[in-house]
């Protein structure tokens, strides 16, 4: 048995159910919440004020790893901010930690991808920060489109077809992969279909968070149904092969 600890923005209704559905039976999920209502820069920055207390709470449940399961709160301040958040969690809890944005960078490197298109639930301001985060981490963002949403509850009400439609719209032949950002946006149900139709990896911030959590607990059996990243957990990293 392994235990995954997940820090969730308080108004997020999506990441918890999508983790539960994808996790194997022998892995349990334990959630703590951090206050967030709007996906706007001041609100996102404020969300992490409780991160140490809530990380300690998860540590009392003796979780094996803690994941900050939120994209914007882990990329907000650019290069290294994600790792800064992970370090904060680790220092407070004494547990290993990672974040959604760290997982996204690692997953893209793992697949050997450098040119991507970015689709997000965010407004232009937050989406520009997301795009910049990927670029300073060494990726070429060919195009970035957001749905323009700020109210997090509204994002949770979107149907997964909104992710499918946006991914189809932003894809272009020179993109090696598609990135769908925001863990409150339903993406998991359309990844497999998109990969089949577009014949390239589709990464969502929820999917990469699950991937990073499972790797952190040493899981090697893949999880089918949510794209190639989770299906081939034991697959060697493309980057490692090149090195």
């Amino acid at each position: 048995m392994s235990r995954i600890g997940l820090l969730v923005p308080s108004s997020n209704t999506t990441v918890e159910p999508e983790f539960y559905r994808a996790l194997p039976n022998e892995v349990t999920l334990h959630v703590a919440r951090l206050h967030l209502s709007q996906i706007a820069t001041d609100s996102i920055a404020g969300m992490v004020s409780d991160i140490e207390q809530r990380s300690r709470d998860l540590a009392t449940a003796d979780v094996d790893v803690i994941v900050l399961g939120a994209a914007a709160p882990s990329f907000l301040k650019g290069l290294g901010y994600d790792r800064e958040m992970a370090k904060k969690i680790e220092a407070a809890s004494g547990k290993r930690a990672t974040t959604t944005s760290t997982a996204l960078v690692e997953a893209l490197k793992h697949l050997g991808v450098s040119r991507v298109v970015l689709g997000a639930a965010y407004d232009d301001k937050v989406n520009a920060i997301a795009k910049n985060f990927l670029e300073v981490n060494g990726f070429n963002v060919l195009a970035a489109h957001g749905l323009g949403l700020v109210d997090n509850l509204v994002v949770g009400r979107l149907d997964a077809s909104s992710a499918y439609d946006l991914a189809r719209k932003i894809d272009r032949p020179d993109a090696e992969a598609i990135v769908l950002a925001c863990t409150n946006w339903k993406t998991m149900d359309v990844i497999e279909r998109l990969e089949r139709e577009l014949n390239k990896p589709v990464l969502s911030t929820t999917q990469v968070s699950i991937w990073a959590a499972l790797r952190a607990i040493g899981r090697v059996e893949g999880v089918p149904g949510y794209g190639r990243l989770l299906r081939d957990l034991a697959a060697p990293s493309k980057q490692t092969q090149l090195a």
Partner: protein
């Protein structure tokens, strides 16, 4: 939105590893569980249990943001420890914060015993003596006598989850007598849910648990028939006509 049929806001003691797992395991299509943690330590000392009342307010503010249809305060001792008025205060506070009806485990415990018409029951707990005495008083205040009480006698609340379902099965079976009408297994950290059906079949009387009773009231409050057929007679009753009304009535009276 996930939870289009019902969203449960679940507050658990931070050390609890059982209740969110069991709530997700039984959640039917369209029902989602959103957890927030009540900050606290590992040992269920009187001071720790009393502190949960205050700490639960912050957890309720967090989980209230998903606009839940019901809020569950998922801790038995943390809701009975200071008696019925304290339990009622917790319900009122959490409902004021979340704008949703509140179910507490202690309230659900007495509600299911009262709904079953039981006057004399056996109880299994992981608690130390002071906590067991408080449980008996709480039940008595609702007209239910605890005939026999069997305990694993452990102060460390995290370790309660290490007690295996088969150990709970054995404990219930060895301690209960024909003298009692039913058995209640207290503590949302005890993994009792998966042995309730077997115990009921093997003992020939109702056997309830903390997680099960909390779920029973939560589904009734949401007016959702979860069709849970393998976690004891109490949850099966939710799939009978008019069962929701019974559970809701006891939610109000407990």
């Amino acid at each position: 939105m996930y939870g289009w049929r019902g969203r449960i806001g679940l507050l658990v003691p931070s050390i609890n590893t059982t209740m969110e797992t069991e709530f997700w395991r039984i959640a039917p299509e369209g029902v989602s569980v959103h957890t927030a943690r009540i900050a606290g330590g590992r040992e269920g000392t009187p001071e720790e249990l009393r502190n949960m009342e205050n700490a639960s307010k912050k957890a309720a503010e967090e989980v209230g943001m998903v606009e839940p249809d019901v809020v569950v305060y998922g801790c038995t001792s943390g809701s009975f420890f200071e008696g019925p008025a304290w339990n009622k205060k917790i319900c009122e506070q959490l409902t004021a914060i979340t704008k949703a009806p509140t179910v507490t485990t202690a309230g659900a415990m007495v509600a299911c015993l009262m709904a079953g018409g039981h006057k004399k029951v056996d109880v299994v707990t992981p608690y130390v003596e002071v906590t067991n005495e408080r449980l008996k008083q709480f039940a008595k205040a609702h007209g239910v006598e605890v005939a026999k009480l069997g305990t694993f006698d452990m102060l460390d609340m995290f370790d309660h989850a290490k007690i295996l379902p088969e150990e709970i099965y054995a404990k219930v079976k060895e301690m209960t007598t024909p003298d009692s009408e039913a058995v209640f297994v207290a503590c949302t950290q005890l993994r009792a849910l998966e042995v309730l059906d077997m115990l009921e079949r093997d003992l020939g009387k109702p056997v309830y648990s903390a997680v099960q009773a909390s779920a029973w009231q939560a589904y009734a409050a949401m007016n959702v028939d979860p069709k849970i057929m393998d976690c004891g007679s109490l949850l099966r009753k939710l799939s009978e006509p008019d069962s929701h009304k019974i559970a809701v009535k006891h939610l109000r009276s407990a």
